[in-house]
Symmetry: C2
């Protein structure tokens, strides 16, 4: 069966199945001019959107359609996580170039629905269109957060401890392995590919952190630690200092860097697509927060530095020397 | 100044200006991982999204960037209008191929902001990315509707009168003029181009109709009358009959068809992108509704047919003969 045999509306009918998994409060999902739903009156609404473009964010030969669909949703869930919110509903626009098989498209939706089911998220609507040449996926995710527990970028305070919820730089290394078509001859390399292809949105971690009264600000690391820390600093009107030897580097990234002669710290600083949370918290309560977090999730909250009132971002090397941190993370429009 | 000189974040800073025009209830607009806002607790939320792809929905040489931005928002507002809702906030994702000038992009946003201001809509967020080859715009619009006044496609009832809020087929004729690069040697042709390039979302009309207790169902005519009437019939489990000589054809479309030997009814039936509302209402109250509408808006509500309990869609020609209406409207995936 091909896409042109069933047409746009036949396609929509097929992908509808399994999209509405939490019907409570949903008046109308796919099938009208707009989705219609009740909102949580006592909470703030969150809305985020991310677009993935073929040839820029992915190539069809290097990620399976299942993982592509999964990732398109995951990166949006990560944004809700960074607000300390609970994700609610997703909306998917897709532009499909000629020659893409129906099976391929159904796999994209299967990947999305698989992750959606894990976090009890409905797919409530979207748009389907032809494309001239590039496959494009735009996903929107809504969510909710308690009014006094939204984690903004702009709330970091001088003296705050800076945490990361996970290792940094793995995804970028995985991307390099893909782009250079490096044989996956080490299990370490498989971990790096996994980090790039199947990122884990930290929704539970974000919710937990937002509920701690002394956690102040958060962002998800999508552009790279140096850039995303820059966003927090700029929005909060503060500076920051991070310590190279505290940056969490996984054994897999270390093995990769040993093999090819790279510096893991550079990968961690400018990698991007980590989708861990970068969080700041009151230093007086930081140990307690980290201990409770570890108890709850079984993983450490990595302490990587502190917020300063000095208006720039520094990193301190293993010899204790300070350097200005240049924002080397991802920028779509710079060369 | 070029896009690469200011980078993605410099670009975002520039387009932010003038996006937040109705700050009440908005906790965070552009500049965090997600937008954060209060919702109207006593009303239902609406959310719609539409994607415009270069080479499929537009070409850069045939629509100005101002009108492209305006239209990308207008088609979404039209969906909110078709639900009988009030539009609230917009979210814009854009994928930009190399070589697109900063001025061009700013004009897209200027066109969007111009229409947004007319209907008091904030632009609260979005995404910006590079594209490989095609410019892509995905716009999301949220809105609100009273719980007992949402106009669903699925609520048409046998016996209902079918209304159109405006002329049909003009946009398709305008599109043909553009694609065939026909000289605009008649003022009629300018009207048709205008209908295609600067569609008017019927938000005020939709709100008014949703507030009438005897209006039952609505859809905006985006795929074409035959297809969109088909959506209403299928979702409501009813049939429909429309009368060729009641279909509202403008003098401009008539002049165009006279000139080139086309049938205006075929344009009206299968045109698409009209963005008028197709509405059904209780026949006992139809005259009253039409009269009040005319008083309020100065334009007629065109009565074009009726909903039937016979499960298919017919059209009646000027000799009174019935024909099965084939759904000839737009389908992105059919040949």
């Amino acid at each position: 069966m091909e896409l042109k045999d069933i047409g746009e509306f036949g396609f929509i009918e097929r992908i509808c199945q399994g999209c509405l998994i939490r019907p409570n409060g949903i008046v109308k999902s796919i099938g009208d001019d707009a989705a219609v739903f009740k909102t949580a009156a006592d909470r703030l609404m969150l809305l985020t959107t991310d677009m993935l473009v073929e040839g820029v964010h992915f190539t069809r030969d290097q990620i399976s359609p299942f993982n592509l669909g999964r990732k398109a949703l995951a990166v949006n869930l990560s944004d809700i996580a960074a607000m300390g919110g609970e994700a609610a509903d997703a909306f998917v626009s897709i532009a499909v170039p000629g020659g893409v098989a129906l099976d391929y498209l159904e796999e994209i939706y299967r990947g999305m629905k698989h992750l959606a089911a894990e976090f009890k998220i409905n797919i409530l609507g979207g748009d389907t269109t032809r494309a001239n040449s590039d496959l494009v996926l735009n996903v929107v995710v809504t969510g909710y957060a308690a009014e006094n527990a939204v984690l903004l970028r702009s709330n970091a305070q001088a003296g705050d401890v800076i945490f990361s919820t996970g290792f940094l730089g793995e995804s970028r290394a995985g991307c390099d392995l893909l782009l250079n078509r490096t044989p996956q001859d080490q299990s370490a390399f498989k971990d790096l590919l996994e980090a790039h292809i199947r990122p884990k949105p930290c929704l539970r971690e974000g919710l937990f952190l937002a509920a701690q009264p002394h956690v102040h600000a958060a962002i998800d690391i999508s552009d790279g630690l140096s850039s995303d820390l820059g966003h927090i600093a700029r929005e909060s009107g503060v500076g920051a200092k991070i310590y190279a030897d505290r940056i969490p580097v996984s054994a897999s990234l270390q093995a990769f860097c040993n093999r090819f002669g790279y510096d893991p710290i550079q990968y961690a600083l400018s990698g991007g697509e980590d989708y861990t949370l970068l969080v700041t918290a009151d230093p007086q309560h930081a140990d307690k927060i980290a201990a409770t977090y570890r108890q709850r999730f079984g993983n450490p909250l990595f302490t990587i530095g502190e917020i300063t009132d000095f208006g720039q971002i520094e990193w301190v090397d293993s010899q204790g020397r300070s350097h200005r941190l240049v924002q080397t993370g991802w920028d779509h429009f710079k060369d």
